[in-house]
Symmetry: C2
Subunit: 335 residues, 2 copies
DNA sequence: TTGTATGCGTTATCAT
DNA sequence: ATGATAACGCATACAA
């Protein structure tokens, strides 16, 4: 069943059928009704591929997601997909992992499928070595690219993010001002966002005239950041004589590990030790005690991403960079 | 840059370029090299829409996911997308929520985009009222449909699932045989899978010659199933005089709520009360104490879904229904 | 082995 | 207001 069949049955030309389909104003009411009747009677649906070929778009957004099973990214995925679909765009998903070659390949794939725009989800996309970001610059030449939680000044690349540095500063100050003296910092990324958070940690100490003990900065590689790994590492640090009375982490999951440590070491939270996570993910309510965490405004970020993408696709001028402010959500793991 | 440009620059016909592109054997090595050189020199990529129009496929699988932020479905999403992409198929994602009209619309959308196959993720797709499943029968007339954790006998619909009933029976027996006498059952779905799990709970009691106290069956609606809601409901049940010494739930998240209750009520887990979840999701390690849960073999299910889909698309005969057996993963919340 | 011609199902540009 | 026809870019049957 194609447009020719419809035109034949309705006794009009395919041009008229097409006009009815795209509700062009240049159709008489009578013929419109006649054609619509045939369309509904046959259940005809226009062929999306042919339409795509003619218009050079299938109204599709490519979502590049390092890991859809990460609660934070899964939440973002849900928000983005929902909003885009509401606006008439479908989402092509590509879970590439965090390795550069795979990400590059993911972008290549999306480009080859002629998506209308690409969203890079998460701060892990920007590499330090500028040349390693060429695949993004390249993609931006073809379609608008939007970064979720990343900063990358480039034509046709738009950035929507949270001020991580300030958010961590505020969170750290909260710890210091509530009496904590040695705040352990756990992180598992050295990328742009990761460095910003670390800088926030340092800022807070500087603001209170305190030196940062570099031994308090504890890095976990992505694959070694399971709850148990973190717990065991902290137990070991304690045995090695490292003292700390608070923990702040770059991700909620690391904080859950810290809470596990506290329980095993018999340290009361928050009385003897405070913990603050980051992302305000669904883990916060599941943790015991429930986790104080930085809400980095994911919903607002996602909505802004969709609005920006649609604006760009409509040819409007859109802000290259939009920054939201994080907010500390206090629960049971802090005083 | 299209196939005509390439053919002109290479001094051959578009047919030859096409042959090179699809590595047909009927091309001399010299011309192949000549054409490849031009292709690589220009960075030409064939237009996916035109190709789709001609072949009537863009090698795309539609994933219908009620909620990508659910840890279990997010995990499935990751597995499926990864496997499909490895096999050369891209995934179009549609997070429709759990309401019938939206799901119906989601299927419609995927069909209109001519996906090669559809995966319905989760047991919430099959309605009790047979007519309400017509949209699935309808979709199956156009493309193969695969159900993740659902059973639906229908031509061109394939089912891959875990034997939930038996898994819950085994889990419940484990509780009864370790001395628990009053096992509370928390669930939040009355669909096919939900009823199977409940039946498993009843089976276990029957096998041990015990009657089921209907007051121990506690339903939570999807939107009222937050950790806190569960905790508060259990506190109220206890105040109302309902006695129970174990909890088994249809989802891990409900078990987390039960653990929250235990802590607030001052009941020691597992000494005074045991808890078993379902799905063996990432929440299990985050909970305190860590949650014993039924592993329903998600990875195996997803891999089998992909294999089945590819088989069907290649015209092979594939099993209509494949059942995996769940496995109880013991952690700290049981004796 | 290579080239020519046609179909795929739309949308858009002209005429009328 | 409507119709004829040309793109759109590829795959492929058929011819050479």
């Amino acid at each position: 069943m194609n447009i020719y069949d419809i035109s034949r049955r309705a006794g009009v030309s395919i041009a008229t059928v097409s006009r009815v389909l795209n509700n062009s104003p240049h159709v008489s009411e009578t013929t419109r009704k006649k054609v619509m009747a045939v369309i509904e009677g046959t259940g005809y649906v226009p062929n999306a591929f042919a339409r795509g070929l003619g218009l050079n778009t299938m109204k599709t957004i490519g979502l590049l997601c390092p890991d859809a099973s990460d609660p934070y990214l899964a939440q973002a995925l849900t928000y983005l997909e929902h909003s885009f679909r509401q606006k008439g765009y479908d989402c092509l998903l590509s879970c590439t992992g965090r390795e550069l070659p795979a990400r590059r390949q993911g972008v290549e794939l999306l480009k080859s499928r002629h998506v209308d725009g690409i969203v890079l989800m998460g701060s892990s996309f920007i590499e330090d070595n500028s040349a390693d970001n060429d695949y993004i610059r390249d993609a931006a030449k073809a379609v608008p690219v939007i970064l979720l939680n990343g900063s990358f000044p480039c034509e046709n690349v738009y950035c929507v993010l949270c001020d991580d540095q300030r958010a961590v500063t505020d969170a750290t100050l909260q710890l210091l001002d509530s009496g904590c003296r040695r705040v352990l910092y756990l992180y598992h990324s050295n990328n742009y966002s990761g460095r910003k958070k670390l800088a926030g940690y340092r800022d807070a100490h500087e603001m209170r005239g305190m030196d940062v003990d570099e031994k308090l900065l504890c890095y976990f590689s992505q694959d070694k950041s399971s709850v148990h790994q973190v717990r065991d590492t902290l137990l070991q640090l304690e045995r090695d004589g490292l003292a700390f009375d608070a923990v702040i982490t770059s991700e909620d999951i690391l904080s859950v590990g810290a809470l596990k440590y506290a329980r095993m070491a018999g340290r009361k939270v928050p009385e003897e030790m405070c913990v603050i996570g980051y992302n305000n993910s669904s883990l916060c309510n599941c943790a015991e005690p429930e986790l104080t965490s930085v809400d980095n405004k994911l919903l607002a970020i996602c909505e802004h991403i969709v609005a920006t993408m649609l604006g760009v696709l409509e040819g409007k001028e859109m802000p290259q960079k939009t920054v939201f402010t994080g907010e500390l959500i206090k629960r049971e793991s802090t005083r």
